[in-house]
């Protein structure tokens, strides 16, 4: 378990985590980049200016 940098909730991570992988926080949904794996360190992933509707 690691803490989400955006909302502070716990983020559950799977075992064979790789650095650079992108996961999202299941509480707040932000995308987090795996910076280090042991122990896991997460940081806000660079925001893709993804179109989401307009």
């Amino acid at each position: 378990m690691t803490t989400c940098t955006a909302c502070g909730a716990d983020v559950s991570l799977h075992d064979d985590l790789e650095a650079g992988e992108i996961v999202d926080c299941t509480t707040c949904g932000v995308e987090l980049e795996v910076i280090e794996t042991a122990p896991p360190v997460l940081d806000r992933a660079p925001e893709l200016e993804e179109d989401w509707g307009e």
Binding site: A6, C7, G8, A9, D24, C25, T27, C28, G29, V30, E31, E50, W52, G53
Partner: protein, 385 residues
Amino acid sequence: MAGGASTAATTDADDTTAVTETAAAETVTASVIGASGFAGGELLRLLAGHPNFDLQQATSRQRAGKSIGSTHPPLRGTELRYTEPTELESVDVLFAATPHGVSMGHIDAFFDAADTVVDLSADFRLDTAAQYDEWYDGHDAPAYLDRAEYALPELNRENLPGADLIASGGCNATATILGLYPLFEHGILGGETGATDGDGAGEPGGDEQIVVDVKVGSSEGGAGGGAASSHAERSGVVRPYAPTGHRHEAEIEQFLGTSVAFTCHAVDMVRGASATSHVFPDAPVSKGDLWTAYRECYEDEPFVRLAAGGSGVYRYPEPKAVAGTNVAEVGFELDPSNGRVVVFSAIDNVMKGSAGQAVHAANIALGFAETAGLDFAGLHPVGSP
């Protein structure tokens, strides 16, 4: 934490345990007054799928003698027929889903028939007769106002166990209050004075200008019909239908201890109410502060789900994500250019805004599992539900 399928899964497990443990109190009888309407029909549907209720009667004056499935497709095949509201049999719980003014006029008869009355109208939501004079046309049975418990379980569930007259919170009020409450609770709004104390009687807040801009679906208007709510006139609208002076302001003010500047628009959906609240805290807040406030208030709530940014298509609360469910989505965003906090909250007015909230409150009042009968998690994709 909250929401959907995971809740459902957990619930199933818990209930099984509970069932094994408890006993006779397990199933109670219930009837629905105003069962041919939208909120009443939803109650029928929820009670039919509820492990602890045994539905007895469903009333409709206009459709007495007809089967309840003739009105409500999900209930087709059910044997129950509508009866006249004047022919109530004894039950444990009576749900009243009638227009404003009916319950207050029949409350004695309701208690003659039942031990517990859960009212979905506004008839017992306000604390005093004076408020009814101000916002409505007075009150017919003011003696019952003290006895009634307002029900918005996330905020005052401690008042509900054993309550025998429950005034289920209004749809637009519920959406608004759930959105704003954490800001007051955490002192982001309201100074030291504004916090609510759980019985719905908050202290007056500061002089914040809280703008609440609401968008609602057509089912809020009930099953009646009429030229203005015909499909041809009501489709595709963004129509200001209560520019000012909406009666739910009374409830909101009573609960949050502050007035709000409230405007309501009709939009093109059937189920759903969405409240966007624009507030300007006196002191600067960070997005982290907001997350803390909202998570602390709601992380253990089975029916509140936070959505405040994130990724994908569904980033903030929206009604279609909760259609058919008892879930309220709540979220927020910070406007760095002016210190504004924008709060979004979205519910299904027929569920969390009326029938679902009423069943939730009854579950607590009667000692059932809170989520019993309320575990539907919603649909994706879904259009304009």
